[in-house]
């Protein structure tokens, strides 16, 4: 019997160790996968995979940045003198245009004459820049030059201000507006949620009667159980028009609407944790304060709040964590415009919303797909910093300030 119990205990021990190990391994693998996919972006060419840019061989242009390529094909840069020593109006050319110039049967059965025709077209026009699939490049043609393409670089990703991942020929991966958008929306969400959350926590732990408390606490915890898409729907239909009308704004889908929704979503976390921290103040400490002649209010802000300060900080940090990773509600109310935020009453695009909206149709393994993984890495690093600081704060001395 005793032996049997020993075996059972050892088995349980092994099982527990194993489950812990498997979990850690899974997390590690996810992180490795995330970073491997994400960092692949910097090995991708700045022009869509399988395509190349061709110019006339008399054209002295050596290299174009992704930003310049995009602006040329949007007809915003219209003259070669803006990007190189050459003069003359730029003619952007896409493959489809060749089919409007010749009847279909002139390209041959398997398009074997297509490269030749493309070569002729380029040779005729010294100002052309053609965006062509690599398999149809007019290789033998002397008057055609293939423009070398650089890889997407780190500075363009973290410093770029345009997020146009599906632009052809040159997608723009400027993540700065997304990173800033995420941080600002979360920051203001906490700025709104903190005073309310603390107020409610103080009320519930110190002032409310037992019956009120018994009613309030489950109600607030219920808030945490509402699916985020419901919050988003509420925000889009109620909050957005309300903000627009009362503040007389041109658009209601703003960073402010996002912050407000996130604040509501972060409240239950903040309230519950802060309240628990305050209630854990030893009875002796409260009574000592009151016995020394302090009023209840003085007791709250001189004794209880300082004692609970590490718990309150943890509440704030976890609230931020909740806000930063939130996807659906933000996707619905912020308008998702990838712009650099100059005011709170502007539309904004966050990282989670971008991943959710775009990953479904991004071709697996392509630059767009990798860029979304890299965004995921950034989000991971941000939340890791936050939870590390939560850990650090929670470990701090409880009796600080007394």
């Amino acid at each position: 019997m005793k032996q049997f119990r020993q075996i059972a205990e050892r088995m349980a021990k092994v099982m527990l160790t194993l489950s812990g190990g498997v979990t850690s391994l899974a997390i590690l693998l996810i992180i490795i996968f995330l970073f491997k996919e994400g960092l692949g972006l910097f090995n991708s060419a700045a022009v869509e995979n399988g395509y190349a840019l061709c110019i006339h061989s008399s054209n002295p242009t050596q290299q174009l940045s992704p930003w310049q390529i995009k602006r040329i094909f949007d007809w915003e840069i219209t003259d070669w003198s803006e990007v190189s020593e050459k003069k003359g109006e730029i003619t952007p050319f896409r493959l489809d245009e060749i089919f409007a110039m010749y009847p279909e049967d002139e390209f041959g059965e398997d398009y074997e004459l297509l490269p030749q025709k493309l070569g002729e077209t380029i040779a005729q026009n010294p100002n052309i820049i053609a965006f062509l699939p690599e398999q149809y490049l007019p290789n033998g043609n002397q008057s055609v030059k293939v423009l070398p393409v650089e890889n997407i670089n780190i500075a363009d990703f973290f410093g770029g201000k345009e997020w146009l991942p599906t632009a052809t020929p040159s997608p723009q991966f400027g993540a700065l507006p997304l990173i800033m958008g995420t941080l600002w929306v979360s920051f203001f969400a906490i700025l709104i949620a903190l005073p309310f959350g603390l107020g409610v926590a103080i009320y519930m732990s110190e002032l409310a009667g037992t019956r009120t408390r018994k009613f309030l606490k489950p109600t607030i915890e219920l808030l945490a159980g509402i699916p985020s898409v419901v919050y988003g729907f509420f925000g889009l239909v109620v909050l957005v028009p309300l903000i627009q009308r009362t503040l007389n704004l041109p658009v209601g889908e703003t960073a402010f609407a996002g912050s407000l929704i996130l604040a509501i979503m972060a409240l239950p976390t903040i309230i519950t944790i802060a309240e628990d921290a305050m209630r854990s103040t030893p009875r002796a400490m409260r009574e000592a304060s009151l016995a020394l002649g302090a009023t209840p209010w003085q007791t709250i802000y001189k004794v209880i709040v300082p004692h609970a300060s590490s718990g309150i900080m943890a509440a704030v940090v976890l609230g931020i964590g909740r806000a930063i990773g939130e996807t659906m509600a933000v996707l619905m109310v912020t308008g998702n415009a990838a712009v650099m935020l100059t005011s709170l009453f502007q539309s904004v695009r966050t990282i989670p919303a971008t991943i959710a909206a775009e990953l479904g149709e991004a071709p697996a393994g392509g630059a767009h797909y990798q860029s979304l993984f890299l965004l995921g890495c950034i989000l991971f690093v941000i939340t890791m910093i936050i939870s590390a600081s939560a850990e650090f704060i929670a470990k701090k001395d409880h009796n600080k300030g007394i």
């Binding site: 949007d74 345009e162 599906t166 632009a167 627009q244 658009v251 209601g252 308008g335 695009r349 479904g360």
Partner: protein, 243 residues
Amino acid sequence: MLPLSQKAAEEFMKALPSATVTVTGGGSGVGIAALLEGTTELAQLSRKIKFDEKNKLKEKRIIAKEITAAYDALAVVVYPSNKVTNLTREQLEGIFTGKIKNWKEVGGADLAIIPYSRETSSGTYEFFKESVLRNKNYMSGIMSMPATGAIIQSVSQTKGAIGYVGLAYLNKEVKAIHVSYDGGKTFVAPSVTNAKNETYPIVRPLYYYYNMAAEAKVKSFIDFILSDKGQKIVSEIGFITVK
């Protein structure tokens, strides 16, 4: 296009209980990829097959047959009390690429224009970009909404808004713009009649592609969609019939 195939498959199986049709979604690119891999016999596309895709089919020696099952028109919508009714393609291009920023530049009130777009993953986004913007990029920082319903909702509550939706989604909460593709000579209202007689310009065909080798398998379903009964489903869903 997915709702059409789903509804049609449902009705088809009711009419012919021995047949089974399984419909899955995922986007036009996914459809062609499945046809290439041989995991499907019939692909539904809300755009014409791309040049590279045609090539890949050729490499695999798959002869794909194209069937136009229905048409879908895109309507440009604005806030209901907006004074502007007519816009040319060039003006729309200016608005969505960010060159035209105020309604007074196109004959409206002095009010900032707020263009709403769909997310990049949507076929509608690509089609509008090709047809109206002539392949130029949308302005950076355009408002992008995850669904057509969200566009209607936002346009109906934002005074300076402009957006685009499928014809079937038009309702009284938004105002549809009359569009001109001939430089302002004729402006045409988006409607089923105008799309059918080809006067309304922003119309895209919806296709089925199937492997000729599997024709016997899919023929009866294709025939069903092109029949009167099938085309009735097309108009019920809000698309435009082929006949």
